[in-house]
Symmetry: C2
Subunit: 450 residues, 2 copies
């Protein structure tokens, strides 16, 4: 009998109770709720594990929990975040977002998939390793931040100021990760960049009776017209010079796509859509998904949006737009192109507001030791072979924390296809959670042996 | 000393207290609040005045107060409504919308300008006429409805079913009316039509993480693209065949515009705008204001509209659109053209929802007795000569209640430029209110003598 398994089995109830305890502490960065309390909890847990851990306070009160444990030829960075998305809309949760209720073999809580489940799973796996296997064969450096869900505002500065501490890492196990719709574990080797802007259009100084719209400008129309110049049918981004910065995928990158089994029919059925954008399928679909930038209206508002009719001429309209970036687009470049594009078309009255600083694209070589170790570990632990995504479609601070310091990173985690990160009824399946511990143990061993 | 004036002066406090009492009874049709209570109050007041009055109940519980008083060669219809707009947003009111507080010579209340002030002013003027002048020289027919602010849903049916009761009227004093920005009383001889629709775009069956927007359709973009085909720069309505139905103004109609003194600079300053649409001025501005249709985005919604950023791919987007109609556009025609236009451009997925049945255009001949009587009365009562608007820019059930029965109508009332109908801090100036009684008295006398 494997001692690691024996230990995990024996501590199963305590491990789940601890995960529930972490999930019951709200820690919403966007609303500045419970952040310091949560950071203290993470710090105490790492110290209890035996790590040399401390809180590193950044400007604005941002708190990074940093901890080191173990020793070995290789150094593994583990990146996680203890902050979570806002729980709203509350009415769509079957049990409260902070209840951490268990039903049907799943634990439901805001942040359990993104990313407290992975954080606690990794800590508990190391506890089990130390108790049941022995000394760690690698040096582990924990970086656990509390601003990931608001764009990791201060993490680039943290990485810069603590370069000496971090750059010795040989690889990074990145936060998040899940199984796909056919139960195959996904390993991600990169992230898209992101920049999030608001476009604001202003009309009269107050709302007016809509009969005046014959002669007084309607900001909702101004916004609509400005937006329609940014992207149009066939999903083409029309911002001047935008697409010309996007480099074509290399043959190796295209080969990586061909190796991804993507169950289009199941995914479409799950999302309730008749077709993907432009009826794309196969490699072309995956190419757009992973290697092309996006320009998404995440929010749109003007005037009266309640029941029934109100004949009002609004005096303000805005859109929230999220750009996901691929090489060689950067947040600064996109904002600059966007402003110039609007100005060139007479939309200088549309104000472009940057809500966050944005994040850059990151990609890790598929043949780096951390990626190879993750593939080996996944093959050893999971029933299905892993799928390697050369990049995820999402974003995060991988560039400043890893790529800028020359550290390859891979993301793998205990979520599943229907974990509903950022959405009501976020959940992790209990069996995936425990399987994740075996993956962490296997990754440590294989990474040490590379 | 004029006996009418003596009576009004002597009853000043009671009249204001009564107006406050009417304003303190909420009667919001859209929210179905206080409608029956308010109808009973109006009925009781008309009976107290000596009118032969009754409640006429329509399907859906709609209540029209109908009353007759006086006799004479001519019959004057008085149309008012006792329902009011919703009071929201409450936080922008300086005193509560149902407080009917008086300050700076104004009475502030939801509905005092639109339209309880005119309703009570007219009743009190008739009371004063009867008490101080003598028997009424005309027959008066009151039609006071409770659904005006939700599109007078059942009034066309009322007018149809009670045609025999109504069609003997020779003219109608229409609800509402105000002084312009330079204190000149406005007389309106028509209304634009209106149709109010919602456009809905649907995406996946639930909100998704915005990284999926690379391959899953975004309904906010679909809506934006559909909208941008309806109207574009220079405010041109581009719906197929829409503008070809709009007949050009006649020379007489253009002459009527030339007689309107419109203080563009004062109005722009008040609205806080640098220019009117397309930099229009003069007769061209008034032509667009009064003789051209509108297509206005009154409301726009999709996804996340709170503070900061949420990287969500919305699954639903909608716009609320108000069309103001001129001859020869009708509500049915506009909805039909809109649907065909969208379908022709591949936007059959955009659902067009009709929230109300719409209202048709109405215009009264400028030389009809009721209009001439109103002009004479205004010249006699007000310090400044009246301005004749061949049509107002707003809408109402004037077509089914008056034009369809061959009854010319004119609107004139006790509001002023800054009465803020439909907006917070709606108000009527006390002196305008009393001046309005003298106008009603003069109108009755002149209309009887025509």
């Amino acid at each position: 009998m494997d001692k690691f398994k024996t230990y995990v089995d024996a501590n199963r109830d305590r491990f789940i109770a601890e995960l529930q305890d972490f999930c019951r502490q709200p820690s919403v960065a966007a609303q500045n709720i419970g952040i310091r309390e949560m950071a203290q909890k993470v710090l105490a847990r790492l110290q209890q594990l035996g790590a040399n851990a401390r809180l590193i306070e950044l400007p604005g009160g941002a708190l990074v929990v940093y901890g080191e444990i173990g020793s070995g030829k290789r150094t593994l960075m583990i990146y996680d975040h203890y902050d979570v998305q806002p729980p709203e809309p509350l009415e769509l949760w079957e049990t409260g977002p902070w209840d951490a209720a268990i039903r049907d073999g799943k634990l439901f809580a805001r942040g359990v998939a993104d990313n407290k489940g992975n954080l606690v799973c990794r800590i508990q796996a190391i506890e089990a390793y130390l108790a049941a296997v022995g000394a760690l064969p690698v040096k582990i450096k924990f970086v656990v931040e509390g601003e990931e869900e608001i764009g990791s505002v201060h993490l680039p500065q943290f990485a810069k100021e603590n370069r000496a501490l971090l750059e010795s890492a040989d690889g990074c196990l990145w936060e998040s990760g899940s199984k796909d719709i056919n139960e195959r574990p996904i390993l991600g080797c990169g992230l898209k960049g992101i920049v999030y802007v608001e476009l604001h259009a202003q009309g009269a100084i107050r709302d007016l009776h809509s009969s005046l719209a014959a002669i007084v400008p309607d900001p909702a129309w101004r916004l609509t017209w400005a937006l329609s110049t940014l992207k149009y049918a066939h999903d083409h981004i029309l911002i001047d010079d935008f697409m010309s910065h996007v480099r074509a995928p290399t043959p190796a990158e295209m080969d990586a796509l061909k190796a991804i089994p993507y169950d289009e029919e199941k995914v479409k059925a799950d999302y309730g859509i008749a077709a993907f954008i432009c009826n794309l399928t196969g490699v072309e679909l995956l190419k757009k998904y992973l290697y092309e930038p996006t320009c998404t209206i995440c929010g749109l508002y003007s005037g009266y949006i309640g029941e029934g009719s109100k004949t009002v001429l609004p005096n303000h309209a805005f859109a929230k737009i999220d750009f996901r970036l691929v090489p060689n687009l950067t947040p600064d470049l996109v904002v600059d192109l966007l402003k110039k594009h609007l100005a060139r078309r007479g939309f200088s009255d549309i104000e472009v507001k940057l809500t966050e600083t944005g994040e850059e694209v990151a990609r890790s070589p598929l043949d780096s030791p951390i990626v190879r170790a993750a593939i080996d570990a996944a093959n050893a632990v999971y029933a299905n072979a892993p799928i390697i995504y050369p990049t995820a479609a999402g974003s995060g601070p991988m560039y400043p924390l890893c790529q800028a310091l020359g550290i390859p990173a891979v993301n793998a985690g205990c979520g599943w296809y229907d974990s509903r990160a950022h959405a009501p009824n976020e959940n992790v399946r209990i069996e995936d959670y425990f399987e994740g511990m075996f993956f962490v143990r296997a990754l440590i061993d294989r990474f040490a042996a590379m």
